[in-house]
C-alpha cells in the first residue's frame, strides 16, 4: 500500500500554480495576519476577505468552492471559543442557570465568538489553498530562501519523504494487531485497557527501532551517493514580473481590507 493520502497537492497549470512559492507563502501569511488584525464585527472587511479568498480559488482553477469543502477542519476547536460568549464584559443578553452555574451571555461576547470563527474559517482556507497549488518540496525550498534554518527544513524534507514509508510500516503493525485480535460477537477483543496500552506501547517501541535502524541504512546509502550534510536541489526559485504583480495586487487588496475594517 502506498499512502499518497498525505499529498495535498492538486496538479494544475493555473496562474496560482505557476507563481513563485515564496510569493504564495508570504501572501498566505499576510492574509492570515490581516484576518487576525481585523477588529471584532468588521463585517465589510470579513466579506472582502472572503472575496479575496474566492478570487484566489478562481485563479487556482480548482473550482470556486474548492477550499470550502475542507474548511470545517478547525471547527471542533470552536468549542473553546464558546466560553468567550460569557467572558467578555458587555450588555447581558440572558441569564442561564445550569445546576449551580449561572452563565450570562453578553452581546460583546457573542460578537467576539462569531468573529473568531470567521477569522479562523477564512485563514484555514487560505492555508488549504497554499498546499493545494504548491508542491510541498517547493514550499520547503521557499522557506529555506526565507531564512528558515536549513536544519529544520532538512528535517522536514526527510519527514515528508519518509512519512509515507513509516506510515506503511504503522499500517502493517496495525493490520497485524487486528488480524490477531479475534473477538466473539458482542465481545471486545483483547484484554484490559492496561494490556491494550502495553501492546500499543510495544508497537511504538517496535516502530522506533525499525525507524532507527532504517535511518542508519538511509544514511549509509546517502553517503555512498555523495551526501555532505546538505540536501541539493535543481529547482532554483526565480521571481518574475507576474510574481511581483500578483504580490502587489494581493497587498493592495489586503490594505483595503484593513482600512475598511477600521472605518
Amino acid at each position: 500500500m502506498h499512502s499518497d493520502v498525505f499529498d495535498r497537492y492538486h496538479h494544475g497549470h493555473s496562474l496560482l500554480h505557476r507563481l513563485d512559492a515564496r510569493v504564495k507563502a508570504i501572501v498566505t501569511v499576510a492574509f492570515i495576519l490581516s484576518n487576525v488584525l481585523l477588529p471584532d464585527g468588521a463585517w465589510t472587511a470579513f466579506i472582502l476577505a472572503w472575496m479575496f479568498l474566492l478570487i484566489a480559488n478562481l485563479f487556482s482553477q480548482l473550482g470556486i468552492g474548492f477550499t470550502f469543502k475542507r474548511s470545517f477542519i478547525a471547527l471542533p476547536f470552536a468549542l473553546v471559543a464558546v466560553t468567550a460568549i460569557f467572558s467578555i464584559p458587555g450588555h447581558p443578553l440572558a441569564e442561564w442557570h445550569i445546576g449551580t452555574e449561572t452563565l450570562i451571555p453578553t452581546d460583546a461576547g457573542v460578537l467576539r465568538f462569531v468573529s473568531i470563527l470567521i477569522r479562523s474559517w477564512l485563514s484555514v482556507q487560505m492555508a488549504i489553498l497554499l498546499v493545494a497549488v504548491t508542491e510541498f518540496p517547493k514550499i520547503l525550498h521557499a522557506l529555506e530562501h526565507l531564512h528558515v534554518p536549513s536544519i529544520i527544513t532538512t528535517i522536514i524534507a526527510f519527514l515528508y519523504r519518509y512519512l509515507f514509508v513509516l506510515t506503511d510500516e504503522v499500517m502493517r503493525l496495525l493490520r497485524a494487531r487486528q488480524a490477531r485480535s479475534a473477538a466473539a460477537p458482542g465481545l471486545r477483543s483483547g484484554g484490559s485497557v492496561r494490556w491494550q496500552a502495553r501492546i500499543a506501547g510495544n508497537m511504538a517501541g517496535q516502530l522506533f527501532l525499525r525507524s532507527y535502524e532504517r535511518s542508519d541504512r538511509i544514511y549509509n546509502a546517502m553517503l555512498s551517493r555523495g551526501y555532505k550534510g546538505q540536501l541539493m536541489t535543481m529547482h532554483p526559485l526565480r521571481i518574475t514580473r507576474p510574481d511581483w504583480l500578483a504580490a502587489m495586487c494581493a497587498f493592495i487588496f489586503l490594505l483595503l481590507i484593513q482600512i475598511l475594517g477600521r472605518l
Partner: protein, 310 residues
C-alpha cells in the same frame, strides 16, 4: 484514519497577534539554542536520523488503543522523543512534526504555529527530559516509571499553556477553560504515559545500547533537571491557582456573578478542593498535589507491573 489529531492544535484566529508573537519569540529562541547545540555536538549523521525520527513521531501518533466509551489513547511523543534522542535534538524533531501538521494538514494554524510548537513540542521536551535526567544512576524500573509521570505531566503542561494563551487572547474564559482542558488532558495524558512507559521498556529490553552510556539519551546536562522540575512544579501549582485567583477579566466575571468552576471540574477530586479546607487556594493546591501523588503512585505501580511481566 490518517493520524489522530490532538485537541491541542490551535487554529489561526484563536490567538491574538500579541500572544502569537510572544510565543513565536520564545519558540525561536529555544529552537535557536537547540540548533546551535546540535550543530556543535552532532555530526552530519544526525540530520537524517532526526528526520526519520520526526517521521517516526508522526507515524507513531497513529498507533492507538481503545479506552472506554469510543475514545482512544494515543501518543503525542514529546517526552518519548526527548528521552530517546536527547533534549535539543528532540526539540528540533518536535518542531518539525508540528510544522508539518500545520503546513500540510492545517492541523494548527500558521501565525499561531509558534504557540503550537511551544505547547506541544518544547515544553513537553523540557519536562520529559528534565524529570528523566534526574533518574540517571537509578535502576531501569525507576527510569521507566519516572518517564511515565513525565509523559503525563508533559501533556498537562501543554494543555495548561494552551489554556493560558487562549485566555490571554480573550478567546476563552479562564475559569472554564482551565478545568475543562486539564480534565480532558488528564485522561489523554494517561494514554501518553502508558504508551511511553511500554515503548521505553520495549527499547530497554531489545536495544539497551540506544539508551545507555554514550547514546544521545544521556547527553543532556544537569541543568535539565532544574528546568524540568521547575516547569513541572509550575504546572502543579499554577493549574489550581489559575482557576481561583482571578485578575482583571475574571474579577469582572466574578462581580457579574458567574464565577463558578465546580461544575466543570467534578472529577476525581470534585472541584479541585479538599472538603475541610474549604474553597481556598490552599485547598486547590493541596488537591492538585494529592492528584499528582495519586498519579505518581499509579504510574509507579504500572511501571513495576510492566517490569515484572517482562
Amino acid at each position: 484514519m490518517h493520524y489522530s489529531p490532538v485537541a491541542m492544535h490551535i487554529p489561526d484566529g484563536f490567538l491574538s497577534l500579541a500572544i502569537s508573537i510572544i510565543c513565536w519569540t520564545v519558540t525561536i529562541i529555544l529552537d535557536g539554542i537547540a540548533i546551535s547545540r546540535t550543530n556543535k555536538s552532532l555530526g552530519e549523521r544526525q540530520v537524517p536520523l532526526m528526520g526519520i525520527m520526526a517521521a517516526f513521531i508522526f507515524a507513531a501518533q497513529m498507533i492507538n488503543f481503545p479506552v472506554a466509551g469510543g475514545t482512544s489513547g494515543h501518543l503525542l511523543g514529546g517526552a518519548l522523543a526527548a528521552i530517546t534522542l536527547g533534549p535539543w535534538a528532540a526539540m528540533l524533531v518536535m518542531t518539525s512534526v508540528i510544522a508539518v501538521q500545520g503546513l500540510l494538514f492545517q492541523d494548527g494554524g500558521l501565525i499561531v504555529m509558534g504557540a503550537n510548537i511551544l505547547n506541544m513540542g518544547l515544553i513537553t521536551v523540557i519536562i520529559g527530559y528534565g524529570l528523566y535526567r534526574a533518574t540517571f544512576g537509578r535502576s531501569q524500573g525507576v527510569k521507566v516509571w519516572v518517564a511515565g509521570v513525565a509523559a503525563w505531566l508533559s501533556v498537562m503542561a501543554g494543555a495548561l499553556l494552551t489554556s493560558l494563551e487562549l485566555w490571554l487572547s480573550g478567546t476563552a474564559k479562564l475559569s472554564i477553560i482551565i478545568p475543562a482542558m486539564l480534565g480532558v488532558h488528564a485522561l489523554i495524558g494517561l494514554g501518553e504515559a502508558l504508551i511511553t512507559v511500554a515503548a521505553l521498556s520495549f527499547v530497554f529490553r531489545t536495544r539497551p545500547d540506544l539508551l545507555g552510556e554514550g547514546s544521545a539519551s544521556v547527553k543532556g546536562g544537569r541543568g535539565w533537571i532544574l528546568a524540568g522540575v521547575l516547569v513541572a512544579l509550575t504546572v502543579v501549582l499554577l493549574s489550581p491557582l489559575a482557576s481561583v485567583n482571578p485578575d482583571g477579566l475574571n474579577r469582572v466575571a466574578m462581580n457579574l456573578g458567574f464565577f463558578n468552576t465546580a461544575h466543570f471540574a467534578s472529577g476525581l477530586l470534585a472541584g479541585y478542593k479538599i472538603p475541610f479546607l474549604g474553597n481556598t487556594p490552599v485547598s486547590k493546591i493541596a488537591a492538585g498535589a494529592i492528584g499528582l501523588l495519586v498519579v505518581l503512585g499509579l504510574a509507579f505501580l504500572a511501571g513495576r507491573a510492566l517490569q515484572k511481566k517482562s
